[in-house]
Point group: C2
Chain length 234, copies 2
């Protein structure tokens, strides 16, 4: 339920999580091609540009339901539609953002979410100096209106950008308001009912990948010490 | 080179990327235990709390070099040190942040990075109204000082939070300044030399996971139509 990066799909129309994480990169690459008419693109071409292997690309794209033609590849526009359809990105979803601080402002300004069907219709905060103002064109409302508005406006997605220690309380409000999915940018580990989708943005995980790769590329004095110990102990 | 989520480790001290992404969650869970003395924790206990399978947890933790005791598990403090050591998080790394806008401000304020060894010593921007001010206690400097200061201060990590269309130009400056790792929060696909670590924060990937899971939990009219077509064609 939490994260699910270790889970395989439990529905035929859900791809493995690593595939889902790669699909936006394919889409971005295809958009960058700026082709016209019936231009085609091959797995080899995509794989080369994104530093992946062609068989992986073929498998990932097959999840979206598209079938390439031998020696020709995929029609670029049909492939883009196939990925967008699969992700549900051509179908705007109304969302509330909770926490109109720096992170919330950053998310509201992130162009690629806006163009990919995340339609943030209101932001919520407890800071009275922010309530009634607009952040990146989106009105900031009082937090105590959250649950009721969520229910009345049939909001699907809650984006959590408030301090971590409020995250569970806000999640509970959203769940009572009938939310379908929570996108958690805080470090809090949240508990949601089984029917609510939870995705953690996992900024700390990205930093873990960065720092461990960095550690391995550098001659870390710590590591040299420990490998020396091994020799000393012989 | 880019991302590498499809790559296996090429060095013995690098764990698979999915393992690296899970390690911060273990650490956060262990910190939350608030135990004293020689308390132990088992794989089953960790797995239960984080909705993973115990064998996966055991395998992940083994990557950090720690060995558990049968029926007892791991000493909590030793396990925390082992993970932190492995990630290089007990060893602060000096970093520059480029782009002191909303996203940059959010990253500067993200407590868990600060405590995990990301030591952002200066921020850079082209906006003259920001230069000379402090954001979350960190001074904002003019972008034209970036390359020289990077070299002189032997900065290891560059954190990119500026608009995507400047990202490659800034990356090139950092590379000339001798940077070792780039943490990219923009949507730009960057080219870096092989010896420079590149990690994309991939916020769009996280959103892809969220939206496709959401799509699959809802009765999407689009899907019903297409499954109907299958029957019609018989």
């Amino acid at each position: 339920m939490v994260n699910g990066d270790n889970k395989t799909s439990d529905r035929s129309n859900i791809a493995p999580v690593p595939t889902l994480r790669r699909l936006p990169r394919y889409l971005e690459y295809l958009k960058g091609l700026r082709v016209h008419g019936d231009a085609h693109v091959s797995c080899t071409q995509i794989a080369g540009a994104l530093d992946l292997v062609p068989t992986q690309v073929r498998k990932d794209l097959a999840c979206t339901g598209i079938v390439g033609k031998p020696k020709k590849g995929y029609p670029v526009f049909a492939l883009m539609s196939s990925i967008e359809n699969f992700l549900g990105w051509n179908d705007p979803r109304d969302a509330f953002l909770i926490g109109a601080g720096a992170l919330g402002t950053a998310i509201l300004g992130y162009e690629s979410f806006r163009s990919n069907g995340l339609n943030i219709v209101a932001a919520f905060d407890t800071d009275t100096s922010k309530i009634g103002t607009k952040v990146r064109g989106v009105e900031v409302l009082a937090l105590d209106k959250l649950e009721d508005l969520c229910r009345r406006m049939k909001i699907l997605i809650g984006v959590l950008t408030m301090p971590a220690h409020y995250a569970q309380a806000v999640t509970d409000m959203l769940v009572r308001g009938g939310i379908k999915a929570i996108w958690n940018f805080t470090t809090a580990r949240l508990v949601v009912p089984d029917e609510v989708v939870l995705e953690n943005a996992q900024l700390a995980s990205s930093f873990a990948v960065l720092s461990s790769k960095l550690r391995s590329t550098m001659h870390d004095p710590l590591e040299e010490e420990s490998s020396e110990e091994v020799f000393v102990s012989n």
